[in-house]
C-alpha cells in the first residue's frame, strides 16, 4: 500500500498540465511562409514525420514524468504491505506466530516445500519484531488445533520461540486453522501488551479454514473491569504458496475385494484418484505393487476438480498381503505423500476337504454329499476349496494327512481305529471336523466312538414334525438364537437373516448337557443346532440335523451355502476374514489382542516401533496414535513368551483425503470473516506480515526524474 509523508505536495502533480499546454501551444502556432523549395520540405517531412511525432510524444511523456516524479518525490511516498496501517496504529503488539504444519504444507514448489518456505518466513517475522513485542509460536496440525502443548502466552523469550520454529517439522495431519487462530487469540489475551497480532503462515487451503465460524477474539485481561469486551486481533495470513494455484492429484481411497473373474485368490484393487486442479489430468499412471514387485499398471484420466476410479487386478498369495498403489507423476512440483496408498488384505489359503458320505443315495434329495458338494463347488467358492468325496468304508482306510477339513455326513459310528486317527489329526494337526447327522447315526454308538471329539454327547433324536405330514411346516423347528457375530454368520446382513430364520427342521438330535461345546445356533426350543468345540489344534463343528432334505429343508435354502462354505473355511482356519478397516492418520487405533495374548509391540512400515498406550479396562490391548501413513503390524504374545506377529492385527493408516484438496480459500471471504480489511489481510511474505517499515520510494522517484530530464535534454538537442 502506498502512503505519503507529505501528501500536500501531490498537488504538484497538477503541474503536469504545463508541458501538455506547451505541447498543444506548439502544435497550434505555425507561422505561414510561402516557400519556393517546398518540395524539399515536403520530402524531408515525409521521411521524418513518424519519427518526429514519436519524438514529440516521447518528449511530452518525459516532461510529464519529470514533473510527476518531482512532485511525488516531494510527497515522500513509501510502500507499505497491505493493511499495515491497522497493525501499526496500535504501537507494539503481542504477536502469535501460527505455523501450519498440515500435510498439504509438504507440497513441493521448486526446491522447497511450502512448509520450509513458511518456516523461514516465520523466522524472519520473528526477527523483525520490535524489542517491546512479546511473541509466541505454535504448530497448527491435527484436529485439536495446535499440536504438542498448544500455544503458550506471548513472552520475551525469543530464543525459545526461535528454537521451536527451527525444529518444527510438517506432519501428515490435517489442520484446523480456525481453531488455531481462535486458540492463538486466546493466548494473546494473556499478554499485557495492548496491541494484539496473529501472523499465520499457511497454504490457505480451503478445507483448513471454516468461513462460517466466528472470528478469533482476544478475551479481555483478567484484571479488566467486568463487562469489558473481547477485542479483535490484527490477523495477517502469510500465503506460503504466494497466490499460486496448487494442482494436485492424489490417491484418496483404495478398496481391495475378491474378484471371481480372476480365479482363485484373484483380487481387484479399486483406486480412487482425485484431481484438485482446474485442469484435466490425463494419462496418469497408476501402479499396483505387492511387496517390491509391480504387478499391474493402468492409466486414468481425472476430470478437473473431480475423481476417477481405476480398477487393477492381481492374483495374490495366501496370507496377509500388504501392497501399495502409486501414481507416477511427471512434474517435480506437487504433494508426494498422497501419491500412493498402502493396503493390507487377508487372502485366505486354499482348503482341502474330505467329504465322507455315510449314506450315498441315487436320490439326490436324500444324498447329503450332493448338497455339500454343490455348496463347495469351485464355481461357488472361486476354486478355493478342493473337496473329495468318499464313502464311509473308503474313508476309514484313507490317510487323513493333507486334508484341512473332514466332513462326516450321516456316517454310522466309525470304527475305533479311524476314530483314533481322526482325534489325533484334530488334536495334533489341527484338522477341522464337520459332523452332520442323519438316519444312519446312532447316538449311543457315536458317543462311544467319537465321544471325545463331539462338542457334547448326543442324547436322542427328536422329531418335531414328520416331513410331508399335514401341518408339518408349522410344527417344524426353526432356528431361534443365532450368534450373528460369529464368522459363520457374519456374512448375513439384517436383510439376509430371514433366509436363515425361515428354514424348517423336522428332526434333530438333542444333546446331553455335559461337555464344553459352544452353541452358535439353536432351535426355537433351545436345543443346539450348531455347536463347536476347540480340540487341541483343531475345531469340531456339530450340526444336529442332516445336510440332506431327509430331516430339514435348510439345504435347499440360499442361506445354507454361505454357512457351509464359511464353516469349512473356519474349520480349516482359512476363513475369508473381513478385511481390516483402514484408519486415518491423526486417529487412534485400538489393537485388541487375541484371547490369552497381549499386544507387545507395534511396528510402522519402516520397521520402527510406534509408541502406544494402554487402557486399564483392557490392559492387553494397545491404543496406537497414528502420526504417519503406511502399514502397521502388531506383535503379540502370551505373557513371558517371545512375541510373534499377529497378521489379523495388521492395518493401514491413510491420509486425510481432504488434505489432498489444495483449493484455496476465497481471500475476500476470509478477510471478511476475520474482521474485514481493517484488521485482517493476506500477504505474500514475512516482510508484508511485519509491516514495521515501509520501503521509501522518493529516492527512486528522484532518480527517475533525473533520467527523464536527461532524456528530455538529449531529445531536444537533436
Amino acid at each position: 500500500m502506498l502512503q505519503f509523508a507529505h501528501p500536500a505536495y501531490l498537488w504538484g502533480l497538477l503541474a503536469i498540465a504545463l508541458p501538455i499546454l506547451v505541447h498543444l501551444f506548439n502544435q497550434r502556432r505555425p507561422r505561414p511562409l510561402s516557400f519556393g523549395a517546398i518540395e524539399f520540405v515536403l520530402r524531408s517531412h515525409r521521411q521524418k514525420a513518424r519519427r518526429l511525432r514519436l519524438r514529440q510524444i516521447l518528449l511530452l511523456a518525459l516532461r510529464c514524468l519529470l514533473i510527476a516524479a518531482v512532485a511525488l518525490a516531494l510527497a515522500r511516498p513509501s510502500i507499505k504491505p497491505r493493511g499495515v496501517q491497522a497493525a501499526q496504529s496500535s504501537g507494539p503488539q503481542a504477536t502469535a506466530l501460527v505455523l501450519d504444519a498440515s500435510l498439504s504444507m509438504r507440497y513441493r514448489m521448486g526446491s522447497k516445500t511450502l512448509f520450509e518456505k513458511a518456516r523461514s518466513e516465520a523466522l524472519a517475522a520473528l526477527d523483525r519484531l520490535g524489542p517491546d513485542e512479546p511473541a509466541a509460536a505454535g504448530l497448527c496440525a491435527g484436529p485439536a488445533g495446535f499440536s504438542g502443548g498448544g500455544i503458550g502466552a506471548p513472552s520475551f523469550d525469543r530464543l525459545a520461540v526461535r528454537r521451536m520454529l527451527q525444529s518444527a517439522q510438517p506432519t501428515y495431519l490435517m489442520s484446523d486453522m480456525t481453531s488455531c487462530l481462535a486458540a492463538a487469540a486466546k493466548a494473546l489475551g494473556e499478554s499485557p501488551v495492548a496491541g494484539k497480532r496473529i501472523i499465520a503462515f499457511s497454504d490457505l487451503a480451503a478445507h483448513s479454514i471454516r468461513l462460517d465460524a466466528p472470528p478469533p477474539l482476544v478475551p479481555p485481561p483478567a484484571t479488566a473491569p467486568p463487562g469489558a469486551q473481547a477485542i479483535r486481533p490484527n490477523v495477517v495470513l502469510v500465503d506460503a504458496a504466494r497466490g499460486s494455484e496448487l494442482p494436485n492429484a492424489a490417491v484418496i481411497a483404495t478398496v481391495v475385494r475378491p474378484s471371481a473373474s480372476l480365479g482363485p485368490r484373484g483380487y481387484e484393487v479399486v483406486v480412487t484418484v482425485a484431481n484438485s486442479s482446474g485442469q484435466l489430468v490425463s494419462g496418469l499412471q497408476v501402479s499396483l505393487k505387492v511387496g517390491a514387485h509391480t504387478v499391474a499398471k493402468g492409466f486414468v484420466d481425472v476430470p478437473p476438480r473431480g475423481t476417477a476410479k481405476k480398477t487393477l487386478g492381481a492374483v495374490l498369495p495366501a496370507g496377509v498381503v500388504t501392497g501399495r498403489v502409486e501414481l507416477t507423476r511427471e512434474e517435480a512440483q506437487g504433494l508426494d505423500e498422497d501419491d500412493g496408498q498402502d493396503f493390507v488384505v487377508h487372502v485366505p489359503r486354499d482348503v482341502k476337504a474330505l467329504i465322507v458320505d455315510g449314506a450315498p443315495s441315487s436320490l439326490r434329495s436324500r444324498d447329503e454329499a450332493f448338497f455339500v458338494e454343490a455348496a463347495l463347488a469351485p464355481a461357488r467358492t472361486g476354486g478355493r476349496i478342493h473337496a473329495q468325496t468318499l464313502d464311509a468304508d473308503a474313508a476309514a482306510n484313507a490317510p487323513l494327512d493333507g486334508y484341512d477339513v473332514l466332513l462326516l455326513l450321516n456316517v454310522a459310528a466309525p470304527p475305533k481305529p479311524f476314530a483314533d486317527k481322526l482325534r489325533q489329526a484334530v488334536v495334533q494337526q489341527g484338522l477341522g471336523v464337520f459332523i452332520a447327522l442323519g438316519d444312519h447315526v446312532d447316538p449311543d454308538a457315536y458317543n462311544e466312538v467319537l465321544g471325545e471329539v463331539l462338542p457334547r454327547p448326543l442324547h436322542l433324536i427328536k422329531t418335531a414334525a414328520e416331513p410331508g405330514a399335514q401341518g408339518a411346516e408349522e410344527h417344524a423347528a426353526r432356528f431361534g438364537l443365532i450368534e450373528w457375530a460369529h464368522p459363520l454368520f457374519h456374512v448375513f446382513g439384517p436383510a439376509e437373516r430371514e433366509g436363515l430364520e425361515s428354514a424348517r427342521t423336522f428332526r434333530y438330535a438333542l444333546l446331553k448337557p455335559e461337555g464344553q461345546g459352544h452353541t452358535l445356533a439353536s432351535y426355537d426350543d433351545g436345543a443346539p443346532a450348531l455347536i463347536e468345540k476347540r480340540l487341541g489344534a483343531g475345531r469340531v463343528l456339530l450340526y444336529t440335523s442332516s445336510v440332506s432334505r431327509t430331516w430339514t429343508d435348510w439345504p435347499i435354502r440360499v442361506s445354507f451355502l454361505p454357512v457351509l462354505q464359511q464353516s469349512v473355511s473356519w474349520l480349516a482356519d482359512a476363513l475369508e476374514q473381513r478385511q481390516p478397516a483402514n484408519s486415518m492418520v491423526g486417529e487412534e487405533r485400538t489393537l485388541s489382542a487375541p484371547p490369552g495374548t497381549r499386544v507387545e509391540k507395534v511396528l510402522a512400515s519402516g520397521g520402527e516401533a510406534v509408541p502406544f498406550r494402554r487402557e486399564t479396562a483392557h490392559p492387553d490391548d494397545a491404543i496406537v496414535p497414528l502420526s504417519a501413513p503406511g502399514q502397521y503390524r502388531a506383535l503379540v504374545a502370551p505373557p513371558g513368551v517371545q512375541p510373534r506377529e499377529e497378521p489379523a492385527l495388521a492395518f493401514v493408516a491413510t491420509l486425510d483425503p481432504k488434505e489432498s484438496d489444495l483449493r484455496r480459500v476465497d481471500e475476500g471471504e476470509l478477510k471478511a470473516r476475520l474482521g474485514g480489511a481493517g484488521s485482517a489481510r493476506v500477504a505474500a511474505s514475512a516482510a508484508a506480515a511485519q509491516g514495521v517499515q515501509g520501503t521509501p520510494l522518493w529516492s527512486g522517484l528522484l532518480l527517475l526524474g533525473a533520467l527523464a530530464l536527461l532524456g528530455e535534454g538529449a531529445l531536444t538537442r537533436r
Binding site: 507561422r31 511562409l33 516557400f35 523549395a37
Partner: protein, 300 residues
Amino acid sequence: MTPAQPLLPALLARLGPLQVTARKVMEGVLTGLHKSPHHGQSVEFSEHKEYAPGDEIRHIDWRAFAKLDKYYVKRFEMETNLRALLVVDASGSMAYGRGAMTKLQYAAICAGALAYLLSRQGDQVGLCIAGDGGTWEGVREFLPFASSPTHVQELLKILDGSQGRGATLLPAALDFAAEKAGRRALMIVLTDLFDATDRSIPALKMLRSRRHDVLLLQTLDREELDFPFDDPTRFLSMEDDRSIEAQPRQIRESYLAEMRRFLETTRKELARADVEVEQIATDAAPDRVLLKLLARREAA
C-alpha cells in the same frame, strides 16, 4: 563606389529600374574583363588544314585547291554573328526572396546585363519569359532576336515587368525556344529548376541535343540553400495549394541533404549532357558572377 567593388544585390535593389541596374552590372563586367589577361572573346582566326576523310566537303577551299592542287579545309571560319536567347523562368517559386530581391529580380538583372553585353558586341538577343498566361503554351512573353539598342530597351522593359506566379512551365518554354531559335544559338536559361514534374532537366538536354549552346544560371535564394528557420512554420507552396506544417529545426538536416543531393544531381547530370551550369545564390554580386562565367567560357 569604385568599379572594383562588387555590385551587391542590396545596393542594386536601391538603384532603381532594371535599365539602370542591368547597365551597372554590364559596366561592372566590362571593367572586370579589361583587367583580365584575356582580350576579347571574338578573335577571328582561320587556317587551312589538309583535308582528311570526315571533314565537311563544303568547307573545302577550292581556291587553294586551284593553286596547290591539294584539298585544304578552312577551319574556325566564324559565323557572321552570335544569336542568344534569354529564357527566364517566371514561375511562382521564382518570386521567392525575402532579402534585397527575389530570385526573379536577380535573374532579370543578370539577363538584362547579358543582353547589354551581347548587343554591344553586335550579337542578336531574344527573350523568352517562361510562365503561364501567354499566347503560347508555357511562354508568357517572347521577344525575337535583334541587336538594336531599342530592342534591348524593349527587352529590359519586359524583364522589368515580369512577375513570378503560377506553375513551372519551363519544359514547354524550352521546347518553344528551341523551335524559335531555329539554327544553332546560345540559350541562356535562368531558373531555380524547382519543377515538380522533373521534366526541366530532360528539356535542357533536349536543347543541347539540338546543338544549341546551353548555359543554365540556376538561381537560388540563400534561405532556400541554408534553411535558416527556427519557429514552427506552415510552409505554403508558391505554385499550387500544397502546404505543410513543420518544425524547421527538426527537418533542417534532412532538408539540407535533400537540397544538396538536388544541386549535385542537377550539376552532374547536365554536365554529362555538356550543358554549362552555374548555380548562383541571390546574395552574390551579379557582376562578379557574370564576370566569372564569361571568363570561364572564354577560357574554354
